[in-house]
């Protein structure tokens, strides 16, 4: 105790002023006049509405990415005290005073600013010189596209931040590995790698590319570890387990956690409810929960139900019928049964009600006690308003002529007998004695005579069918499809045999809270599945571009234009940097191949450790660029220039590495080296100059004359806006 007191308390710290300075200028460049312009800029209109949804805790579904990125933006809004009351309807709309613009844009800007010192550290960890590291950081600092993108409420800069963080922490971990495995920093950096990967994936699906890169590198290193025979088997096992926990288990857990928070936050029903299943909707406050609360759980003979199609494409809809009949002759000359139409209707309607009837009895009411309907029972479905029976027969359906027509039977006395018996088939049953449950059971109706299954064909009926969706009887033998499954959404026990009273019935014999029955995992898997399969309209956009145009910077995006002057924000890259970065990548690949082939012939141009660093650096930087760029060629969605920025960040890291390599190993004489350094300095000044030239478009703070704007239009394909006056 006293020993401690005898010595003075000394804190020694090493402060790398480079990092401090870089952080400083990074913050300056990103945070300067952050709340200008006080208007909606480009995709803020898109992310902004989700922030509002978070603030109001209203459920939404966005297929563009997992919720972590949206939550991050919403966190800014929460810290700034945003109440969510802003109508995000058009680009350029002025923000009202209740919108904390600065706070909303702060987190992306911070992420962008911190990427600068991080680039420095990555290069240092790759064992290149501090000068090179400064170069990489400065490139990231002055790259106009990165500055523009990080100063707005957009997700690219957090994505780039976590991408770089993942790479950095993996490198730190890897460098710890040699000397101090299982030490505290070793664990810290290893776990941080996993966390950063999870965050990157959580912001955009694109993050998965960086995750794969890190996993790949980690796998190769782990493979070397397995081959290291100085380690005991147990130790190797520990190493592998630690990596598995940090790089596989942690990210998955975190990813689930994001969704957990997302679903916990968003507990109110909202505009996207319809896309989700009934069970999901019932778990949201308001919306369906209000209707279904207190309705009986088990469907019994005599129950009144609405039946919702589970697949719900192209539209979520309910089984429906109405007085109108199928036309006797269709437009193409085929005939129909002329019986009452059965359709699927995307709106709530009194004609969506059906009564489940026991074929053996006449009554349409629930007996006491109720006799629940079980899997395999034969039922009839009676349309509530017209008291006709759901029927199908060997007549071709109106549009899908290979399938059977489904109708509500009208007896014309023309030797077409009623075929209205359906066998209930609960798809998601636990046992064969399962009862039919409201909302939870997915059921198929198998026609007894023809073994056809009631199915939503997805086609819209023509005018005679009021553009409702076609319902057909499809042979089960063609395989099961979700469009054959239906679930009961609204349900009540029928007590009145008289049709007139039926619609007025109100009953609540058993209180069942359905929402508790849906676990988080069920909700998560449904939400995730819908997000992945939701096919948005592949909208063509004025500023959309193809991946090939990105490398050459043949495209740009106008983000915002001042309502009066020609001050504008324009996403456009520093063309000198882009060109040299692409050149550096090509140089790297060629040099790499050259060395590789030479080594194969036993010519070692580089010392072994230099070669290993060169390979590692190239794998991470070129690999990061390729993985973040090449997959876009396979994607069919609408693409924009900003999709290239994560790849660009990796390319910018590579550029100084290649320069240093050329300086160290390819410039032989002192003169060459001097010359090369001079060239690099000259090149960097040009890049700075270009950056400065484009600064008005990046920050949008000064209005240029049409002449100056025209002078900036270095490529014909840049759509710089010029106000006619």
């Amino acid at each position: 105790m006293l020993e401690v007191l005898k010595r003075p308390v000394v804190v020694t710290t090493n402060i790398n002023l480079n990092i401090v300075a870089l952080t400083g200028v990074g913050l300056l460049s990103r945070l300067w006049h952050l709340s200008y312009p006080r208007a909606v800029v480009f995709d803020e209109v898109y992310y902004g509405q989700y922030i509002s949804f978070y603030m109001n805790r209203v459920f939404f579904l966005d297929d563009s990415g997992p919720p972590f990125g949206h939550m991050l933006l919403a966190l800014g809004g929460y810290l700034g005290g945003f109440d969510g009351n802003f109508l995000w309807n058009r680009i350029g709309a002025e923000y009202t005073s209740n919108v904390p613009v600065w706070a909303l844009r702060l987190l992306p800007a911070l992420a962008g600013a911190l990427s600068v010192p991080m680039a420095y550290q990555i290069v240092v960890e790759l064992r290149f010189s501090h000068c090179t590291a400064m170069g990489a950081a400065l490139l990231l600092l002055i790259e106009n596209a990165l500055v523009t993108q990080s100063r707005l409420m957009l997700l690219e800069s957090p994505l780039i931040f976590f991408n770089l963080l993942a790479v950095l922490s993996y490198l730190k971990f890897f460098n710890c590995q040699k000397h101090r495995p299982f030490s505290l920093p070793w664990w810290f950096w290893l776990m941080l790698t996993g966390v950063a990967c999870a965050c990157a994936v959580g912001i955009k699906y694109m993050g998965i590319f960086t995750y794969l890169l890190v996993l790949g590198v980690a796998a190769v290193h782990a493979w070397h570890l397995i081959g290291d025979q100085t380690l005991s088997n147990v130790l190797v096992l520990y190493h592998l387990l630690a990596r598995a926990v940090a790089l596989l288990v942690t990210p998955v857990t975190l990813y689930l956690l994001f969704f957990y928070i997302h679903l916990t936050l968003l507990c109110r029903s909202g505009p996207h409810d319809q896309i989700m299943s009934s069970a999901f909707q019932a778990s949201l406050e308001g919306g369906l929960a209000r209707i279904t609360q207190g309705q009986p759980l088990e469907v019994a003979f005599g129950s009144q139900v609405t039946l919702r199609n589970i697949f719900g494409k192209p539209l979520p809809c309910w089984l429906h019928s109405h007085q109108n009949t199928y036309p006797i002759i269709y437009e193409n000359g085929r005939g129909s049964s002329h019986q009452q139409q059965v359709t699927c209707y995307p709106f709530k309607d009194v004609n969506n009600w059906w009564v489940v009837k026991d074929p053996g009895r006449h009554q349409l009411v629930v007996s006491n006690p109720p006799r629940p309907v079980r899997h395999g029972d034969v039922v009839q479905l009676v349309h509530g308003m017209t008291t006709r029976f759901l029927n199908t027969h060997d007549v071709a359906a109106p549009l899908s002529s290979h399938a059977q027509e489904v109708s509500c039977y009208v007896d014309y006395n023309i030797s077409v007998p009623a075929q209205n018996l359906w066998r209930l088939d609960i798809v998601n049953r636990q046992s064969d004695r399962d009862t039919w449950k409201t909302i939870l059971s997915a059921v198929r109706f198998v026609h007894l005579n023809t073994s056809a299954v009631l199915k939503l064909s997805g086609a819209h009926l023509p005018d005679w069918g009021f553009r409702q969706l076609e319902v057909v009887g499809e042979k089960l033998s063609r395989g099961h499809h979700e469009s054959m499954a239906w679930n009961v959404e609204e349900h009540r026990y029928g007590t009145s045999q008289e049709q007139r009273d039926r619609e007025l019935e109100l009953h609540a014999p058993t209180q069942v809270d359905v929402s508790r029955n849906l676990s988080f995992m069920a909700r998560f898997s449904e939400l995730q599945w819908r997000m992945l399969t939701l096919r948005g309209e592949d909208a063509e956009h004025k500023y959309s571009s193809t991946p090939l145009e990105w490398v050459t910077l043949d495209t740009s995006i106008a983000y915002w234009l001042h309502p009066r002057t020609s001050a504008q924000i324009h996403l456009v890259g520093n063309i000198v940097i882009w060109a040299s970065a692409s050149l550096a990548t090509a140089t790297y690949v060629l040099l790499f191949l050259w060395y590789l082939l030479r080594r194969r012939r036993d010519v070692h141009d580089l010392p072994e450790d230099v070669w290993l660093h060169w390979v590692l650096a190239g794998t991470l930087c070129t690999g990061g660029w390729a993985l973040n760029y090449l997959p876009f060629f396979l994607m069919e969605k609408t693409l924009f220039l900003y999709h290239y920025l994560p790849a660009l960040a990796f390319q910018l890291l590579l550029l100084p590495l290649v320069l240093q390599h050329v300086y160290d190993h390819l410039c032989r004489s002192r003169v060459q080296r001097h010359l090369f350094s001079t060239l690099v300095v000259a090149w960097y000044s040009v890049a700075c100059h270009v950056s400065n030239k484009l600064r008005p478009l990046t920050y949008g703070d000064s209005s240029l004359t049409p002449g100056e704007l025209l002078a900036l239009r270095w490529r014909d394909s840049w759509d710089i806006l010029i106000r006619k006056s």
């Binding site: 493979w223 397995i226 081959g227 025979q229 088997n233 190797v236 697949f311 494409k313 192209p314 549009l399 199915k455 939503l456 064909s457 997805g458 086609a459 819209h460 023509p462 005018d463 553009r467 033998s477 063609r478 395989g479 099961h480 499809h481 469009s483 309209e537 909208a539 063509e540 956009h541 004025k542 082939l597 194969r600 012939r601 036993d602 396979l634 069919e636």
Partner: protein
């Protein structure tokens, strides 16, 4: 010399010591290095010595082999046997060629006599003959049943007829498959009188007097070769007769392969070439010890030829090309790293491969295409998919030797074709856009077929100059930059656009037909522009690439290429796009041109060169393939269904009175394959990790693991390449797409179980017990496959009677999955 002596040393130690030296010594490296010297003559002394060795120890073991018959141990083949094989410049299995000494050392103490190789070869030949015979017998059995069109025969038969009639058509597959069936049809035509007149309308149509056996026989003939090919591949990779036999049995007794081989389909042809490519690749790689020898060259070029043919049948052939490519790169990398080879030699190797695997297939592929193009020189139903220039080649097409007015004039009747391939002609018809979709005016679409509704009259925007035949109006040419109106000839409505969103592409404007008898409003005015031309130039028919710009909104007429729903007759959407980016979708050319006042000039329409034709047909094929998209609400076969044999394809018949054929894999075989893949991955990763940990494997096990990793790895790669890409494909997929992968998976099963049984038997048991375990294991697998074939054969050969749900059906107990429907 050194090498030879080194080898002898190894041989001696092997024969004298039961526990041989482990494989790191110079003796082991040496033969391998020697093998890479091209044309290094074997020393004669060694020859004699080897021969003596052979003879010396031949007699006592000969009988053993004879009695044991088919199952000599894989690795422990006679030493002299392998030596001799090298000597005789036969391309022995690679494992034998590489590490002879290890193999020699790895023999069990009671190894077969060195002289037994001849019997072994004889045994292998006999087995090969047996396997081939069995394969042919099963494939040709009841080939004539059913006597009606089954499933896709309707397509491919129809295309065969097109060839015979030399009518141009469009299909999503490259032409070789049909070319070769046509060659056969030509032959069969002479013999049995098929004349291309059968219509092949729909499945179930009776062939009646038309001769179809020629075509089916050809497919079955090619399909039958799959089994012997697989046999040889496995034999070469694993150097084990039991493994090869097992593979052959799995394939012979697989009902799916059998069914697929019996009908007029592309798949047997495709699989034939895939397997041929694989076989010749394996063979040429096992010739690696004698590069540039005659067999080496012939196998190498055969690989190239098979690749071209495989690609020529279906684009799935790309996967086998990928496999051969990867192998070749690995091969070259290996050679490049061999410092004993000079760079010149490596260069020769490289050039040989470039020649045989790139240039030769390319030339062949193009030759096939040229034949296709030359044979099909008559106009037919496929014309509209292709550009105007392309059509000019087809006799019977109105552009063939076209004689039309050269410059566009007011009053001309024209058709306007989109420059993007497979979009078609600007079209309109009397139907209106349905309610709720823009303005309720007449639809304007693009249409791929020639039709009167594609005709438009070009008019001045301000005067409704009536009759172009009226001689009082002078001829006035349309010039670049003019404001015009396009009147639909059949309905007299003007091409019109306005600020309503287009039906599918919401950000574009709707294009309609508007007005009555040619009188509309200012929204009917379009400015006609020729791409890259100056103002005032005349507009040439066919050659000028024009854009139509809507005067009021400033948008450009284009087609989005999206298919309209039923109300639009599934024609393609036409929109007016406000984005002025130049894409082919918004560029058009004038194709037909009728103007009686102008002289018809014989136009030598841009005759496309052969590369252009090649490119265009491929672009159209790719677009066609992409167009085969499944609809949301339909059940489609998913790739994950396939290996588990989830659901088959109904080839013929559905009801209990029909003759039913059902394409379904033999579930025993398929599920065995599935288990084998899992087992292989498990075993493989255990071995690989153990090796990486530096575990010292006993030599015999080492030999087995090499077979498992190299041979098994090769087929596993094949399986993956032929299976996983389907997960990325957006087009409609069918069960039969899995069959090439299934061939590879069966080969893997053969190799795996043979090796596994040897490994199991190796452990504790004495060698005779080990052999017994191995033999019993292999035999039970063979018998199991045969018995399951006996159970399931009605699927392939056809069945009549109650469906399997019915307990009275003979197949009642066999419906193991609910999704099977037979």
């Amino acid at each position: 010399m050194l090498c030879a002596s080194g080898r002898l040393l190894a041989a001696r130690t092997a024969t004298s010591l039961p526990a041989p030296p482990r494989g790191r010594g110079p003796a082991l490296r040496c033969p391998r290095r020697e093998l890479h010297f091209p044309g290094n003559p074997d020393p004669p002394s060694w020859d004699c010595l080897a021969g003596r060795l052979t003879r010396a120890s031949a007699s006592p073991h000969r009988r053993v082999i004879l009695r044991r018959g088919r199952m000599p141990p894989a690795v422990g083949r006679g030493l002299a046997g392998s030596e001799l094989r090298l000597r005789r410049s036969r391309c022995g299995p690679r494992a034998a060629g590489r590490d002879v000494a290890i193999q020699a050392a790895a023999r069990s103490p009671k190894r077969p006599a060195p002289g037994s190789w001849r019997f072994e070869v004889a045994g292998r030949r006999a087995m090969l003959a047996l396997v081939t015979l069995l394969s042919f017998a099963t494939r040709f059995h009841r080939l004539d049943q059913p006597r009606h069109i089954c499933w896709d025969e309707t397509h491919f038969g129809k295309m065969g007829s097109y060839y015979i009639n030399r009518t141009f058509f469009f299909d999503v597959h490259p032409p070789l498959g049909k070319v070769s069936s046509v060659m056969l049809i030509g032959l069969a035509g002479y013999l049995s009188g098929y004349d291309g007149t059968f219509l092949f309308q729909k499945p179930g149509d009776k062939y009646e007097h038309h001769s179809y056996m020629g075509m089916r026989g050809f497919c079955a003939f090619l399909g039958s070769w799959l089994v012997p090919f697989a046999f040889l591949i496995v034999l070469d990779l694993s150097n084990s007769l039991p493994a090869a036999l097992l593979t052959a049995a799995l394939l012979t007794f697989d009902t799916g392969c059998l069914t697929l081989s019996q009908y007029i389909l592309l798949d047997p042809i495709l699989m034939f070439f895939i397997m041929a490519a694989m076989l010749s690749m394996v063979k040429y790689r096992s010739c690696a010890n004698r590069p540039f020898s005659a067999p080496w060259w012939s196998w190498l070029s055969l690989t190239g030829i098979s690749l071209a043919c495989a690609l020529g049948v279906k684009f799935v052939g790309l996967f086998i090309i990928l496999q051969v490519g990867l192998n070749t790169i690995a091969d070259l990398w290996h050679l490049f790293g061999d410092l004993s080879l000079s760079l010149v030699t490596v260069g020769k190797h490289l050039m040989a491969r470039v020649l045989c695997l790139i240039i030769l297939p390319l030339v062949l592929y193009m030759a096939i295409f040229a034949v296709h193009i030359m044979v099909l020189n008559k106009s037919g139903p496929g014309d509209g998919f292709f550009s105007s220039a392309f059509q000019a080649r087809l006799s019977g097409n109105n552009l063939h030797n076209a004689s039309i007015p050269e410059h566009l004039a007011y009053g001309s009747v024209i058709t306007v074709k989109n420059l993007r391939m497979a979009i078609g002609y600007l079209h309109s018809h009397r139907h209106l856009y349905p309610e709720g979709i823009g303005a309720r005016q007449q639809q304007v679409t693009t249409y791929l077929h020639k039709d009167y509704n594609n005709l438009w009259i070009i008019k001045k925007h301000n005067t409704n100059s009536a009759d172009p035949l009226d001689p009082s109006f002078p001829v006035e040419f349309v010039r670049h930059g003019d404001i015009i109106r396009l009147e639909h000839k059949e309905t007299s409505r003007n091409l019109h656009s306005h600020y309503h969103e287009a039906p599918l592409t919401r950000k574009h404007y709707q294009v309609t037909g508007y007005g009555t008898n040619g009188t509309g409003d200012s929204n009917d005015f379009w400015r006609i522009e020729v791409v890259n031309r100056k103002f005032g130039n005349r507009i040439k028919v066919l050659r000028s690439r024009i854009r139509l710009i809507h005067l009021v909104t400033g948008c450009v007429l284009g087609s989005s290429g999206k298919v309209l729903p039923k109300w639009g007759w599934e024609q393609l959407e036409v929109t007016c796009t406000p984005y002025l980016k130049q894409t082919l979708n918004s560029i058009w050319n004038v194709e037909d041109h009728i103007n009686p006042k102008l002289p018809n000039i014989s136009l030598d329409v841009l005759q496309p060169s052969f590369p252009e034709i090649l490119l265009e047909s491929h672009m159209v094929m790719i677009r066609g393939n992409n167009g085969l998209k499944p609809k949301d609400n339909d059940f489609t076969s998913k790739p994950w269904h396939w290996p588990i044999n989830y659901q088959g394809l109904r080839f013929s018949g559905a009801n209990d009175t029909d003759f039913r054929v059902y394409l379904l894999g033999n579930p025993v075989v398929w599920w065995l394959n599935l288990v084998s893949i899992a087992l292989y991955l498990l075993l493989g990763s255990i071995i690989v990790v153990a090796m990486q940990r530096g575990a010292q494997l006993p030599t015999k096990v080492e030999g087995l693991t090499r077979v498992l990793l190299q041979g098994g790895g090769q087929v596993l790669l094949g399986w993956m390449l032929h299976y996983f890409p389907f997960f990325l494909m957006g087009r409609i997929l069918y069960f039969h797409h899995y069959f090439p992968a299934m061939l590879f998976s069966s080969m893997l099963t053969g190799i795996l179980w043979d090796t596994l049984l040897r490994l199991c038997a190796w452990g504790p048991a004495s060698s005779s017990l080990a052999r017994a375990v191995h033999a019993v294991g292999i035999l039970s697998l063979l018998l199991g496959a045969a018995y399951s074939f006996y159970l399931f054969h009605p699927l392939a050969y056809g069945m009549v009677g109650p469906l399997a749900q019915d307990p009275r059906s003979p197949m009642a107990g066999l419906r193991w999955l609910e999704s099977w429907e037979f």
